[in-house]
């Protein structure tokens, strides 16, 4: 048993490092690892992965908040979208054609991949003009970038479109059980034109809240197995702390380059899931 514990723990560390650096939940690593390598049921794996999203978020947020990378005001504004979206997604899950949704969201991610690839050389967004609502809500931010060695002041734009996208990203999470952070990062980076590092840190901050309501449900159903979730979550917590420390010293371009293959993979996987039954 000790060996299995250590193996699961190590997978948790890896998922925590990757997830915290990229603003994702890490389910993309944990679910396949637990089902394929350890032969666990999908339910057990998804439940453990949902709890570990909270671990990624909480473990990394401490460092990101201290470094001012997290924009708490943007986070709370957008959490309204993710939380209500997740709620409506869960409510209409039974009445909706999932295949079509997979294809739609897959195409959306494909488009984001393309945009992210186009922007791969730009370190910081330039010429962002804040909209009226963003100014009224004081969503602008500033942080000291340890990789660039100077302070970055930024503005936020397209405040309402950002919220609407978050609603659909929350609905996707509620309907399909996927995409904790993969929609949030492009929405902040490409639509609201925030710096990439602020986008991943703020996404990281938000995913814990969205995952929490899902995790309560898994707990109530008894899907959270302490002997599986325990070692994973402890590893993820540790990995997230390390990943956050690494991320604040990395250039945005590097982080984006790590993000592109993951978002491309997820896009292809979702489209595949959507079409494979036809």
């Amino acid at each position: 048993m000790a060996v299995t514990f250590i193996e699961i723990f190590l997978i948790g560390i890896g998922a925590g490092v990757v997830g915290s650096m990229l603003g994702l939940g890490g389910g993309i690593i944990i679910v396949p690892a637990l089902t394929l390598l350890f032969g666990m049921s999908m339910r057990t794996a998804v439940a453990a992965s949902t709890v570990s999203i909270i671990a990624t978020s909480t473990g990394a947020a401490v460092a990101f908040l201290r470094d001012r990378l997290t924009n708490t005001r943007v986070a709370i504004w957008l959490e309204m979208g993710t939380a209500t979206g997740a709620l409506s997604g869960a409510l209409i899950a039974g009445f909706i054609n999932q295949r079509l949704l997979y294809i739609m969201f897959g195409l959306l991610l494909g488009y984001s991949t393309y945009n992210m690839f186009k922007a791969r050389k730009s370190e910081l967004p330039t010429g962002v003009v804040p909209d009226a609502l963003s100014q009224k809500l004081r969503l602008h931010g500033s942080y000291y970038d340890k990789a660039l060695g100077h302070r970055v002041d930024y503005q936020v734009t397209r405040t309402i479109p950002g919220l609407i996208i978050m609603y659909f990203s929350g609905a996707a999470a509620g309907l399909l059980g996927i995409g904790a952070g993969i929609f949030k990062v492009p929405a902040m980076d490409q639509v609201m034109r925030m710096p990439f590092k602020a986008s991943t840190a703020t996404s990281n901050f938000m995913i814990g809240v969205t995952a929490a309501s899902g995790a309560v449900v898994y707990f109530a159903r008894g899907d959270v197995k302490p002997l599986v979730a325990g070692p994973v979550v402890l590893g993820v917590l540790l990995g997230a702390v390390v990943g956050a420390k690494l991320m604040v010293r990395m250039k945005a371009n590097r982080i984006r380059l790590c993000f592109i293959p993951l978002i491309a993979y997820t896009a292809i996987e979702m489209i595949y899931r959507g079409v494979k039954w036809w």
């Binding site: 514990f5 909270i54 708490t72 709370i76 939380a83 814990g208 959270v224």
Partner: protein
């Protein structure tokens, strides 16, 4: 402290909320990590009755942390009379509560 120098030029209330939340999340994750670590150790030492309970307690502490984080942020906004954001926090909490309610029922 270095932190104070970093804050120069930023509105003090914005700074305060980030530090308060950072401290809160750190306490939550440390308690959770301690419970999980002791639980796993106890499991390896053969305490199969007691250990899963400790681990579950650790997971529950972790689960409550982000929800409580929204509550804490909401209180800070109320104290600062930032009514917009206090209201946004309330919307998030209600949506989370409704999600748990419908999720557990379904």
């Amino acid at each position: 402290m270095v932190v104070t120098r970093d804050l120069a030029g930023k509105k003090p209330e914005t700074a305060a909320i980030e530090l308060v939340l950072a401290r809160f999340l750190r306490i939550g994750s440390l308690i959770a990590a301690a419970l999980l670590g002791i639980g796993i150790l106890a499991m390896l030492l053969g305490q199969t009755e007691f250990a899963p309970k400790l681990i579950t307690a650790g997971l529950l502490v972790l689960l409550c942390t982000p929800v409580m984080r929204v509550v804490v942020a909401g209180f800070i906004f109320v104290r600062e009379k930032d009514w917009h954001f206090a209201f946004f926090s309330l919307v998030v909490l209600c949506a989370l509560a409704a999600g748990v309610y419908f999720g557990s029922a379904g």
